[in-house]
């Protein structure tokens, strides 16, 4: 029922207005702007202007891309593909998240101990480890790790499908490539990021226990009491909100870069896929940290 309503809204709304500009971006191979050092040195204003326009254009395209793909999550025959993607993006990232989480917690405990012991405040170790993990390090590091592991794979996979005409083939078979390739990945990211973040937080606190209690000899009761008493529900929900924001950013950026790998101005073919993968990872990481600041400042108020 709900997907039918959404479908109708989408057809009425997007078809008329935004698809036109979307397909312009898809088809404007002649408008590729080459921006290089030369242009920057000799035409600085033109360079900045073009860069800004290019950025705003791609931002708009990415927004339309995301909206269309998100609406198509709720259509028929998506469940199987979402579960498949959950396996690749979520389940297969578990081990690396556990490993990174454990050592992040351990090193956090270690560093904080040497700082706090100067003030005789080693009792507050539990608070510091738990709060910084749940509020900040958990969501951010999880997102960066999944970008490195799954995001790059998404871009490369979709990029290769694009340059070998497999996406065009889908199109000719009346299979919507956005629905078939993009929507399941966005849905799977939105589901798996918070779960993996929770895992990261948990194992990070265990890591803190390993270094603080077992290695440095702080009593176990103090550590866990501080962890428990300092954490509020708001800390945890804020962390989850962040991880969902990151999920949307990472999956959109990675899918978008792969999907339009053939439109790159700087290269063609296999090289374009490589560059798309690089810029997907770099852009995702930068946007994770940028949006982290924005979201945190909004949530703290």
């Amino acid at each position: 029922m709900i997907h039918k309503v959404l479908w109708v809204i989408q057809i009425k709304f997007w078809n008329s207005r935004f698809m036109a500009s979307f397909s312009d971006i898809k088809n404007n191979s002649q408008n590729k702007t080459r921006l290089g050092v030369f242009k920057f040195l000799f035409e600085p204003f033109a360079f900045t202007g073009r860069l800004t326009i290019l950025w705003i254009k791609s931002l708009g395209a990415a927004a339309i891309f995301l909206t269309l793909a998100a609406l198509k999550i709720f259509q028929n025959k998506q469940l199987v593909k979402i579960v498949q993607q959950l396996y690749y993006i979520g389940a297969k990232s578990t081990l690396i998240i556990l490993l990174v989480g454990l050592f992040t917690g351990m090193v956090l405990g270690l560093q904080s101990y040497y700082a706090l012991v100067k003030f005789g405040a080693e009792g507050a170790l539990g608070t510091l480890v738990a709060l910084s993990l749940v509020r900040e390090l958990g969501p951010v590091l999880t997102a960066i790790m999944i970008t490195a592991r799954a995001g790059s794979a998404i871009t490369a996979e979709i990029g290769i499908q694009r340059i070998s005409e497999q996406i065009d083939a889908l199109d000719t078979m009346r299979i919507d490539p956005l629905k078939y390739l993009i929507s399941p990945r966005i849905a799977a990211s939105i589901i798996s990021f918070p779960i993996l973040t929770a895992l990261f937080d948990l194992i990070g606190i265990v890591g803190g226990y390993v270094s603080v209690v077992i290695v440095l000899g702080v009593t176990s009761n103090t550590y866990f009491y501080r962890v428990q008493s300092s954490l509020e529900l708001k800390d945890i929900t804020d962390g989850f909100i962040k991880s969902i924001v990151f999920a949307v950013i990472v999956s959109t950026v990675c899918c978008f870069q792969g999907y339009f790998a053939h439109m790159r101005a700087d290269s063609h073919g296999a090289k374009a896929v490589g560059l798309a993968t690089t810029s997907a990872v770099v852009l995702s990481c930068v946007l994770i940290l940028l949006s982290d600041y924005v979201v945190t400042s909004l949530l703290i108020q």
Binding site: M19, Q30, Q166, A169, T172, M173, R174
Partner: protein, 412 residues
């Protein structure tokens, strides 16, 4: 003629500053095999992509059943897509899925059929395209020809009314090229779809095409039947067709159809002056269809090829020239020979043929022949004496009426 299925009206397409199609007008009719020929990079694929809507024209309209494919600047209207399948030049198979999944995908995603029904249909298609053994292999594990067949199976799985083939024979050896073309022709007859091909394979495509469109210098310069193209007087003919035909002739050893006509005309001219006579022999490989069905396209084509080169070898020393006349027929012209002499020459030929020829033809494909599979076929030959000023078609007709069996391959 009835209404066109697809019509281009002044279609222009540019990439940046480069114009690829310039005011193209063309018509494609339902139920026919239409072939678009032209030079590489001349925009043939671009033209095909306009039909399925992967590309949009900059100017002009494309009518599909008299309805424009696109209104204004909106999205490509997809009503045509349901009826059209597209076979990409480099197959565009999904390389991380096996062949079965590749072929099943269109049904899985666009229909509500049950899994058992889908499985049944896919297996039937794979059987028809001789891919049953490769169904769990990945595209990269298959040979080029098998990949082509897989792409064909995928294109045909939805029972399309129109199939677009973008150079279905590119990158294949001459035998396999013919095999793919005859496969397309056979499926076209079997399923009755409208086929639109882009191809370089002149003259092989003539045997299967109802209509030829020639794309030259960004425009369609010719629309008509293959026979009409022979008499078409245009730079296109000299540049494109003759060079392609020349290449083909070098590969098979037979005279190309055009060269054959030139030789024939020269013969006629001499005939007018000196009253020379000549004879025509028509060779037919009977029951080609049953060979295809029993042994597959490749072996059938090899058999035809072997017969062709054997005929050529036998008759060139006595001054005869031969060409492939249709999918399973060869014509040889023996100049300065009356019927009695021709019969003598043919007697020698038959003696040689029964001694070596059949042996060769069977041996030629013996290695690839699957065990326990065998097909019976016979070879017929007919003779006719041509008079000067007589039309060659009518001489060939007479030869066809006089045909008798000269050799037969039996299963034993």
């Amino acid at each position: 003629m009835d209404k066109p299925l697809i019509e281009f009206q002044n279609v222009t397409k540019r990439f940046g500053t480069k114009t690829v199609l310039d005011q193209v007008n063309l018509k494609i009719y339902e139920g026919q095999v239409t072939t678009i020929i032209g030079l590489s990079g001349g925009g043939k694929s671009v033209l095909l992509k306009h039909i399925i809507g992967l590309l949009q024209p900059d100017e002009g309209t494309i009518l599909f059943r008299n309805r424009p494919l696109r209104h204004g600047k909106g999205r490509h209207t997809s009503f045509a897509k349901g009826e059209i399948s597209y076979m990409f030049q480099d197959n565009a198979l999904f390389d991380s899925m096996n062949i079965f999944e590749n072929v099943a995908l269109p049904l899985l995603e666009t229909t509500n059929l049950s899994n058992t029904e889908i499985k049944k249909r896919v297996l039937a298609r794979l059987e028809q395209t001789e891919l049953t053994e490769a169904k769990y292999k990945y595209p990269s594990e298959l040979s080029g020809g098998m990949q082509k067949r897989a792409a064909l199976a995928r294109a045909l799985i939805t029972d399309p009314k129109i199939v677009l083939f973008d150079e279905p024979t590119s990158g294949q050896d001459p035998v396999r090229k013919n095999a793919i073309l005859s496969m397309i022709a056979q499926y076209q007859r079997k399923f009755g779809f409208t086929a639109i091909l882009v191809s370089h394979e002149i003259p092989d495509v003539y045997f299967i095409s109802n209509r030829i469109l020639a794309l030259y210098n960004k425009r369609i310069v010719f629309e008509g039947t293959p026979e009409e193209l022979e008499d078409f007087d245009h730079p296109f003919n000299d540049e494109v067709i003759q060079s392609l035909e020349g290449l083909q002739a070098e590969l098979t050893g037979l005279a190309s159809r055009r060269r054959f006509k030139v030789l024939y005309r020269a013969q006629m001219k001499r005939g007018q002056q000196g009253g020379e006579i000549y004879s025509v022999a028509l060779f037919t490989l009977d029951a080609l269809e049953s060979v295809i069905n029993r042994l597959g396209y490749d072996i059938a084509q090899e058999t035809v090829q072997h017969l062709g080169s054997f005929i050529n070898k036998q008759f060139s020393p006595v001054g005869g020239f031969s060409t492939r006349f249709s999918a399973n027929q060869f014509v040889t012209v023996l100049p300065y020979t009356d019927l009695a002499e021709a019969k003598d020459i043919l007697k020698n030929f038959i003696a040689d043929f029964t001694e070596y020829g059949i042996h060769n033809i069977v041996n030629g494909n013996g290695e690839k022949q699957p065990q326990n599979a065998c097909a019976e076929f016979s070879i017929l030959v007919g003779l006719a004496q041509g008079q000067p000023l007589m039309n060659i078609e009518s001489v060939i007709d007479t030869a066809e009426k006089n045909q008798t069996e000269i050799g037969r391959v039996n299963c034993s």
